[in-house]
């Protein structure tokens, strides 16, 4: 045995080990190229790409007795012979055709979990493996085959991976990436129905059968749950809800701070609108008012966005937001609106992004009422059903707290317009029933017009409440974050930023502790129990 041989052996071992360095339990897979490209005339390789979809029951649970094969629409298909030799895009029936030279041996068809379209409209959506650190795209491969003078049909099906009503350990759930793409395709088509030349910014979706970090949108990426504890690949409303966040972010504006939320929550106005829009949007895309979310393999969760009875109804309720938006959209006769998506789309894309206020039901409704096709009184009648007063501007001027049971001064006015320095700017944790819930009143908003151009120092100083207080501040101009103070200094926060004379700004003041630590949930009619107050100043420097 020569040294060179041993060195080669070592190199091979190193290579294969690297491929499986996730641990000894995995099978190393080494790509071996064995394809020989033919020299004959081109032959057609055609067929369909489909995926299995497991339907949901009304409860939201997966229905393993209702599995259908559905076409993988608009996805990329490749013929691979050592490298990519032909590319096609499937049509709405999942059909593709690629040309491969006769005499080719060992070619295979690869359906990629990717939709690309250039021009107008355009999009680029990829489903990536969330368990990989290097960003690998999911694909579905045929076995290798030869071409010898005749066209070939190759139909590919991505299987759901279930056996009966379970997913066995180690099952390959090939359908998942294509099911997710299918819902995103429906969402894009829904937007294209009112904006035919929409340019969709590139979107990465992360999924894996181990992903249990939640289904959420963040920073131009959507994460979809895949762990068998909670699989979301067939939960179309969940996917459309998250895509709705992408839509609002990309085509409108979303000042929501996100976080955890549940029906009945009393939420920050930005969160309530964003989540209510997401729920309503998912029902619009799916043409199905029942939002369904399967949990594990046996149970589920559903919300009927058409139901107008909301727990803790009001402008701080995602339920009220979704109820109003869906009533504007749908054709059911429980209200006088049957508008479809046009007007909602107009307001979302044209009016809301330009408002100097933060995004909320107020900025949406104010713009909506200003559309020539809308009768304001009709809108007000819908709002009254949700215990919301008539809205006449983006800043909720004159709007009461409706049925809100806590002390009014702890949440109103929504935008404080007192001159600097402002005393008793109070953040409350009473509407935060769990970690990472942005409840109403945790953030307080100060609206002002810059008196002059130049640098200003903003300071928030504790005056009462938590002895271990961590105030934070965020400054927005037309919804864009232009300054922030997020240090951990006790009882004080400060930052310096430049202002433009005459411009409108909104300053958010927040007691960080309330949002990020679990505190007792204890709402009281006599006023907030968990309350920390600050004096907020603005000084030219």
């Amino acid at each position: 045995m020569t040294f060179n041989f041993l060195l080669k052996l070592l190199t091979f071992c190193l290579f294969t080990s690297l491929l499986s360095c996730g641990g000894g339990g995995s099978d190393p897979v080494v790509s071996v190229d064995t394809c020989t490209l033919g020299t004959g005339t081109n032959l057609n390789v055609s067929g369909t790409v489909k995926f299995e979809r497991i339907a949901l029951e009304n409860s939201g649970a997966l229905n393993f007795n209702d599995i259908t094969s559905q076409p993988a629409k608009a996805i990329q298909v490749e013929a691979v012979c050592n490298s990519v030799i032909a590319v096609a895009t499937t049509d709405d029936n999942g059909l593709y055709t690629v040309a491969v030279p006769s005499g080719t041996q060992g070619v295979f068809i690869r359906a990629k979990a990717q939709m690309i379209k250039t021009g107008a409209p355009s999009w680029n959506v990829e489903i990536m493996d969330a368990s990989q650190t290097s960003g690998l795209l999911f694909a579905l491969d045929s076995s290798p085959f030869d071409l010898d003078g005749l066209d070939v049909t190759k139909n590919l099906l991505a299987a759901a991976g279930n056996v009966g009503s379970t997913y066995p350990v180690g099952a390959v759930r090939a359908a998942a990436p294509f099911a997710i793409l299918d819902t995103i395709y429906k969402s894009m088509q829904f937007v294209l129905s009112v904006e035919p030349n929409a340019i969709f910014p590139a979107l990465d979706v992360k999924w894996s059968d181990e992903n249990e970090d939640g289904s959420f949108y963040s920073d131009n990426q959507i994460y979809i749950l895949g762990s068998i504890v909670d699989t979301d690949e067939f939960d179309e409303h969940v996917i459309a809800h998250e895509w709705g966040h992408y839509f609002q972010d990309a085509f409108s504006r979303d000042n929501s701070v996100g976080g955890s939320h549940a029906p009945g929550d009393i939420l920050d106005i930005r969160v309530a609108f964003s989540e209510g829009f997401g729920n309503a949007f998912s029902a619009m895309v799916m043409n199905d008012s029942i939002y369904r979310d399967s949990q594990g393999t046996t149970s589920g969760f559903s919300i009927d966005v058409e139901v107008n009875v909301c727990t803790n109804e009001g402008w701080y309720s995602e339920c009220s937001v979704q109820s109003v938006l869906y009533d504007f959209y749908d054709t059911s006769n429980d209200d006088i609106f049957s508008l479809g998506f046009d007007e909602i789309h107009d307001v979302m894309t044209s009016n809301m992004p330009t408002s100097s206020s933060l995004t909320s039901l107020f900025s949406f409704i104010n713009s909506f009422k200003n559309l020539t096709s809308i009768v304001s009184a009709d809108v007000d009648s819908l709002l009254v059903e949700q215990s919301i007063d008539s809205i006449s501007d983006d800043y909720a001027t004159g709007v009461s707290d409706g049925l809100y049971i806590m002390g009014t001064t702890d949440v109103l006015p929504i935008y404080d317009i007192r001159p600097f320095p402002l005393t008793n700017v109070c953040s409350t944790g009473d509407n935060i029933s769990a970690v990472e819930v942005y409840g109403l009143g945790a953030s307080r908003f100060i609206r002002f017009t810059a008196p002059s151009s130049g640098n200003f120092r903003f300071t928030s100083t504790w005056s009462s409440g938590l002895s271990a207080s961590d105030p934070d501040m965020y400054l927005y101009r037309n919804g864009d974050l232009v300054g922030s103070g997020e240090t951990t200094i006790n009882k004080s926060e400060t930052f310096i930023t430049s202002l433009v004379a005459g411009s409108e700004y909104v300053l958010e003041v927040l007691e960080y502790t309330y949002v990020h630590l679990d505190i007792p949930y204890n709402p009281s009619a006599s006023g907030a129990i968990n309350k920390t107050c600050f004096t907020v100043s603005r000084t030219p420097i």
Binding site: L18, K112, L157, A158, G170
Partner: protein, 187 residues
């Protein structure tokens, strides 16, 4: 000399591989333990049932060791009933009850204690399927609690989130894909 070089290389590479196999600790502890981030990151999540869970788990167990895990649940005001179903994967043997039910009309906080024994090395999972009854409708939320049994460097762990390849999946790095086998037909 060449043999010494070879043995040294193998040892060095072995250590290198061990290092590369070391799991990356993901943030799975309850968020109360998390440090404040440098700046606010917005995660727009899906809606869930108003069920909240708080717990403190051991990060590691040894084979044969018993896990005693106290789970503190909190539910929304409107919840009338809380049901909890507990299951574990094959790394653990569940020794406590697998189902619990609480009347939450007056008391919104409930606790259960899970007892389980570590059977083998691996990434243990305690899975919780929880349901509340709100205004006549059931709402559910799932949780999964990870615990590592044994030396995490010795096995592929779902806890690590690092998986380069696994059975059924073919990694084609040159093409940048993770491919899965299709069910094929020609008609």
């Amino acid at each position: 000399m060449k043999k010494i070089y070879l043995i040294s290389s193998i040892l060095a590479l072995s250590f290198l591989l061990m290092g590369m196999s070391k799991p990356i600790e993901r943030e799975t502890l309850p968020t109360q333990d998390a440090q404040k981030p440098a700046e606010r990151k917005n995660h727009y999540t899906k809606p869930h049932a108003g069920i909240f869970l708080d717990y403190q788990r051991p990060e590691h167990l040894q084979i044969g060791e018993q896990l005693e895990l106290r789970l503190n649940f909190k539910v929304r005001d409107q919840a009338k009933q809380l049901q909890i179903k507990v299951s574990v994967n094959d790394v653990l043997l569940l020794q406590s009850d697998s189902q619990f039910e609480f009347d939450t009309q007056t008391n919104k906080q409930s606790s259960v204690v899970i007892l389980a024994t570590a059977l083998k090395e691996g990434a243990a999972r305690i899975n919780l399927d929880t349901t509340i009854l709100v205004e006549g409708r059931y709402q559910s939320r799932s949780f999964s609690i990870p615990v590592t049994v044994g030396d995490p460097a010795q096995f592929k762990s779902a806890v690590t989130g690092v998986v380069i390849s696994k059975p059924g999946y073919r990694v084609d790095k040159a093409q940048g894909v993770v491919s899965m086998p299709a069910v094929e037909s020609s008609e």
